[in-house]
Amino acid sequence: MSEQPYKTWQCRTCGYIYDEEAGDPNEGLAPGTRWSDLPDTWICPLCGTPKSDFDMIEL
């Protein structure tokens, strides 16, 4: 079975974009880290918005 395509998620408050393919090395998230692998307690690194207030977006 092929790998699921990478997705991008955006913070509703500040617009920060989490791209699964790129990860966020500054936050200790290696490239390829899936959204589902981020803990529910994870918060937006720019503004502190909870993970539940992110939307999946297409760029």
């Binding site: 408050t13 500040c14 617009g15 936050e27 690194p45 720019l46 503004c47 977006i57 760029l59």
Partner: protein
């Protein structure tokens, strides 16, 4: 304990921010010895001084417990506060922008323009912004090896970008720059409307109000124009926008334009000017970026931390609360010192060193939580494009005179950065 009057007077003194070292030393002492205590400078109501990075985040995160709009959002004297309230029917604010609002209005008004400032929307501006950046660098190059980088490039480039976004014609940009500098530089005799070092409340409030009125007259005409003839600009969004199913109130609409036309360029200008000042004084940092352009994002974040152009915002406790072990009472006023948070030794190693490869670099210069800077993605994009183009053509920079900072305790940065440069 209460912070000494001498120290309290320093952290509200615009001249201490122009000096730089004086305010840095005051906050370094406070972080070490009194990180969260009350201050009462002469002529002011008492307020808590929040100096640590973690405590600033905690207050900003709890935007229902710590309101923006219940008291003045900017530190103000008792006398000035009374005059503003007398003028504004009891409100402590001369304007009512996102900065002075709390929910539900804050969220509703923010949503009106949020889409404009999202990274995916800004991408369409990339080519045009690059054109503007290269135009200013061409002019700098034509000056023959020396310029005042603040006045010749840093003030003008973000100004031109945001004015195009808003829809202000280029011919009016000098007026917008002057009004912005008169507003934020109201305590600086080289920039304010009176040309004097005036600290009495009546003159201060009158001066700021006259600047605000000039902005309002200008944008009132623009509102009428955009209602008759909508365009693809931000002014059209504000002029024709609805919040809670109604057109924006007059004060709220005018305030929306004013914050976009001031904070929308001045803070990026200050950061850009401060970055070049820092690189001219730390040539090894300039050489690092020149040799490795992948450090440009690091340069940008470090510049923002280094400059921290917004020096403070005030918050008001809506209930009794505990913060860092201190009892905050309902109605207490809190002074969030962003430069102090961005020099917090427990978060930043060697905080007084400018390092383009600093990582992580989780500064609080854009704020945090619901009120985090709406224009942060535009600011970063403008700086990225400018530095990408700058490092393609500039081979070296050095100071060519004494740089100067604006005297202001709210929003300020360099006002003159004389440099010599060579081109590739």
């Amino acid at each position: 304990m209460t912070i000494s009057t001498e120290l309290a007077n320093t952290i509200v003194d615009p001249r201490a921010y122009a000096d730089g070292d004086r305010v840095d030393q005051a906050f370094a002492w406070l972080r070490q010895n009194a990180p969260l205590e009350q201050a009462q400078p002469e002529g002011f109501d008492p307020f808590w001084v929040v100096t640590r990075h973690a405590d600033i985040l905690e207050v900003e995160r709890q935007n229902e417990l710590f309101h923006n709009g219940d008291r003045s959002t900017v530190l103000t004297t008792i006398e000035a506060d009374q005059k503003v309230r007398a003028m504004m029917g009891g409100s402590p604010h001369l304007v009512r922008s996102l900065v002075q609002m709390d929910n539900p209005d804050h969220l509703a008004y923010r949503r009106l323009t949020q889409g404009w400032f999202m990274p995916q929307n800004l991408r369409k501006l990339e080519d045009r912004i690059r054109e503007i950046a290269t135009g200013f660098l061409d002019r700098m190059a034509a000056q023959g090896g020396s310029c005042d980088f603040a006045r010749d490039v840093a003030f003008l480039y973000p100004l031109h970008v945001i004015m195009e976004v808003i829809g202000v014609p280029e011919t009016d940009e000098p007026r917008m720059l002057k009004l912005t500098q008169e507003l934020f530089g109201s305590a600086d005799p080289e920039l304010n409307r009176t040309g004097t070092e005036t600290y009495d409340a009546q003159t201060g409030v009158d001066t700021i109000q006259s600047v605000v009125m000039d902005f309002m007259m200008y944008f009132n005409a623009m509102t009428e124009d955009r209602r008759k003839t909508p365009r693809e600009d931000l002014a059209t969004v504000i002029a024709n926008g609805e919040v809670h199913g109604q057109p924006l109130g007059h004060l709220e609409a005018m305030s929306y334009y004013i914050i976009a036309a001031t904070a929308g360029h001045d803070t990026t200008s200050s950061t850009t000017a401060a970055a070049l000042w820092a690189m001219a004084e730390n040539p090894e940092q300039f050489e690092k970026v020149k040799a490795d352009r992948s450090l440009i994002p690091g340069l940008i974040e470090e510049s923002i931390r280094w400059a921290t152009p917004v020096k403070h915002f005030m918050r008001t406790a809506t209930d009794d609360a505990e913060l860092a072990g201190k009892k905050i009472a309902k109605g207490d006023w809190l002074f969030l010192s962003y430069p102090s948070g961005n020099r917090d030794e427990t978060v930043f190693e060697d905080p007084f060193k400018f390092r383009v490869d600093r990582t992580p670099n989780k500064h609080v210069a854009f704020g945090y939580g619901a009120h985090v800077c709406l224009g942060q993605h535009l600011a970063r994009m403008e700086m990225r494009i400018l530095w990408e183009e700058f490092f393609k053509r500039v081979a070296s920079v050095e100071m060519a005179g004494e740089p100067k900072r604006m005297a202001a305790s709210f929003v300020c940065g360099p006002k003159s950065v004389p440099i010599r440069f060579t081109l590739n």
